[in-house]
């Protein structure tokens, strides 16, 4: 098994992927991405970087499988309950003053956090004035997200998270349980649009009062974080909100002066002016 990837092999791989398939991983954080490459090689029983390069250059389907495997698609419903509590208490009451509310979930993976947001909006009575744009670079993720399918064994954790976030309803009312999975109530999807958008290469497409991009920045280097924060700034209305993951920061970002913290511990910021 390959244990490490040299700098030059890593650069070569990123270049091959970019030139041949148009996905740009140049400014991803290397420690994590290298690990994903190695993990994928182990999964496919590939024993050398040479073989990996060879297959990337010669097999189109191989890359489709690889991109699915190397991008991180782990997510949870109501991950970090304190964040959702802060949304309920500090952000949604402000959003309620808009006749139409537009929210962007950037890098939504299989949609668990999008549905968490939908539940909050439903409970705040805002869903019918709302449109959630849920995007990811990965088409397979979006397909999964649209199905609203969640494995059953996670639901105990998610119910706990929901209650910790200040939820007072019967959580099981939001889904229908089957043998090994649940399906989120289709009514929660009525104002969600899922579509493909790549933060690395795509542009501003609308204007939002709230952008959630949680635990996506951690896979980017500072250069790419800079680009994406600019993109978010330009996509926010004046005084619009930006929510990041709990350990993500604007500290290393030049755009930080254009934002003010609303809830520093839960990484909720607001565009100044």
């Amino acid at each position: 098994m390959v244990e490490g990837i040299s700098h030059s092999d890593f650069t070569d791989l990123v270049k091959i992927i970019q030139q041949r398939y148009g996905y740009d991983f140049t400014n991803y954080a290397p420690a994590s991405l290298k690990r994903r490459f190695i993990r994928f090689m182990a999964y496919k029983h590939i024993n050398s970087i040479f073989e990996l390069k060879h297959r990337l250059l010669n097999e189109t389907h191989f890359f489709q499988e690889m991109v699915q495997y190397i991008t991180v698609n782990v997510t949870e419903m109501f991950r970090d309950p304190s964040f959702y509590k802060a949304l309920r208490e500090q952000v949604l009451p402000r959003l309620a003053s808009y006749p139409n509310i537009k929210i962007w979930h950037a890098g939504c993976a299989s949609g668990e956090e999008v549905y968490s947001m939908a539940i909050l909006l439903e409970e705040a009575g805002l869903m019918d004035r709302c449109r959630i744009y849920a995007t990811d670079m990965n088409a397979a993720n979006l397909k999964k997200a649209e199905e609203g399918r969640v494995t059953l064994k996670e639901m105990k954790d998610y119910t706990y998270n929901y209650i910790q976030s200040g939820g007072i309803h019967d959580f099981s009312g939001y889904y229908t349980a089957y043998a090994d999975h649940v399906i989120i109530q289709p009514a929660l999807k009525r104002n969600i649009i899922f579509f493909q958008h790549n933060l690395v290469t795509d542009q501003v497409f609308n204007e939002f009062q709230l952008i959630c991009c949680r635990n996506v920045f951690i896979y980017f280097n500072k250069t790419l974080q800079e680009r994406v924060v600019k993109l978010f700034y330009e996509s926010l209305t004046s005084l619009g909100y930006l929510a990041l993951g709990l350990k993500e920061s604007l500290l290393y970002n030049e755009e930080r002066v254009k934002f003010e913290p609303v809830n520093a511990a839960n990484k909720i910021f607001r565009r100044k002016t």
């Binding site: 244990e3 954080a29 290397p30 910790q164 951690i218 500072k222």
Partner: protein, 193 residues
Amino acid sequence: MTLPPKYRILLIGGSAGSMAVLVTLLNHFPSPFPIPVVIIMHRLKNVVSELDKLLSVQQEIREPEDKEQLLPGKIYLAPQNYHLLIEEDATFSLDYSELVNFSRPAIDLSFASAATVFGAHVLGILLSGANSDGAEGLSRIIAAGGTGIVQEPATAEFDVMPQAAIDANPGVQAMSVEEIIHVINNISTENKS
């Protein structure tokens, strides 16, 4: 006689039964400490945790944010529900990918990541625990020329974790808590000269 290695980073991993030992070690840390310290403990996720504050008795212990620079004398605690990696430029990178050894943070990942970046200048210490996370990581540290120490299994509340590391790599040194304290204190003096 070979000169003792100059460590550039100390990592401590632990799980079930390691808390008391960790506190003892922290209480014996010379201050200021000459290198960065990274602690990886198995922890619950999605609960409000004040572990960083609980451990900050003698000196501040903080959970690093993504892209934060590792600094000498600082003690970092891997945050809940993230893997903690280190980049070539000695900054932290967080990772929210699949559990490894049923754990996130996984000790193996932080240890291996430090071995890649700091090579022979890594000291990894593994304490009590009830699963085998950390064994692979210590092997990677030793393979890169660094030092791997485990708490003597007989003295650990749960011996699975240190024993797994010993079984995985003959280069792992088993030590009593007193001996580990001695090693940590020597780092301090070695780096002063």
